[in-house]
Symmetry: none
Subunit: 226 residues, 2 copies
């Protein structure tokens, strides 16, 4: 599910926008105080940020810079009453990816959010029906099979799920918690140890191709290099 971090200090407007976004199926975390944004950003791990510019304590530009320090790619949309070109430029210079002028319509906001998600997530729309080539192997998620030359290894359900996640995000890091949530539904201690076991198995399956590697990022997650 798409998670939106929405920073807005006007409670009335904020409530309406939040509910409106939620009714479209987004998960929204609203923050009113600029000083709390970074803490929420880390905890919530949003897929996209919508920032009002005029805030008490910290303005939206500064927030964008802080976010960019931590995450150079998460999309950022500015929301503001300012209309001068120089403000728009400032928004982009500070790492923003879109700039919507107030008053805006919800439709426009939603359409711009979806557009930006389309642009950034384009890579992840990998094919489903065919196999995914991983080095000298070919992985068929829907068939639960991993092929190499003439050898076919049947994979279990959990193995397939885990490998699908790694393959979708290959050459970029995957959060450990995200894997646990998607494969086991939660990230309790025992499931966590479980993931270790499956990672070991997958490493074993890919042992014959040394160009492939599942790298551990301790305290973070994994990276499937190919």
């Amino acid at each position: 599910m798409t998670k939106i971090l929405y920073v807005e200090d006007e409670p009335f407007l904020g409530k309406i926008v939040k509910e409106s976004l939620e009714s479209r199926g987004f998960e929204v975390c609203m923050v009113a105080d600029g000083r709390e944004v970074m803490a929420q950003f880390r905890a919530f791990e949003p897929t996209i940020c919508v920032l009002d510019i005029m805030l008490p304590h910290r303005d939206g530009y500064t927030l964008a810079q802080d976010i960019r320090q931590v995450n150079p790619t998460v999309p950022i949309i500015f929301l503001t009453a300012k209309t001068q070109t120089e403000d728009v430029l400032k928004g982009f210079q500070n790492g923003g990816n879109d700039y919507i002028r107030k008053p805006f319509s919800m439709e426009e906001l939603i359409v711009r959010i979806q557009n930006i998600l389309n642009l950034t997530l384009q890579k992840k729309t990998t094919s489903t029906r065919e196999g995914v080539v991983l080095g000298t192997y070919t992985f068929f998620p829907h068939k639960y099979e991993l092929h190499r030359a003439e050898a076919i290894r049947k994979l279990s359900h959990r193995e397939t799920e885990l490998l699908s996640i790694l393959a979708e995000n290959r050459n970029s890091t995957v959060n450990r918690r995200d894997i646990l949530k998607r494969v086991w539904g939660d990230d309790s201690f025992f499931n966590s140890r479980n993931l270790d076991v499956y990672i070991t198995r997958l490493r074993d399956y890919f042992r014959e191709d040394t160009t492939l590697e599942i790298v551990t990022l301790k305290g973070v997650g994994y990276l499937f290099k190919s």
Copy 2:
């Protein structure tokens, strides 16, 4: 080089915009007649399209649809005097990726073009396949490896993060607090001592090349000289 297909029927405005874009290093193909656009699109193979909406014979929305038929991913920016929300929506619904209101400044247009290119080409910039040469060493951030001659040292996640920051800003100072924020997420006391430990390690790794040095700027940060 980035190729822009620019569709505009006002010759005077068109000339200015075209030259302005070219002076920024873009290759521009300008088309005034909507009926010629598709032919030019196929021949020129642009990386991005900038479309005026109000055109004789065919409007920009229709053009966008035609382009999407042939190419579902090429970024499209609309340029128009219309300001109604419904026009903006129409733009996105027809496959557009940004919508700039006339009158616009060249700066804004350029910054929006660059932004959209960043978003779509992110994968290419993020996963820099090559290594960074640091003296007699070569650093491969995506592989978590530091090479020197035949020796390969595997780096941990934190080591890689820290070295990436230093390497990106080599021969210029990096703020201590900025490093802490990016590697550890905050700049508390304990993390601060942590950074010292990792700096020591990196110094150790680079000991064999005396032309490289991590200089401490007390009270400020570090400077990676090479």
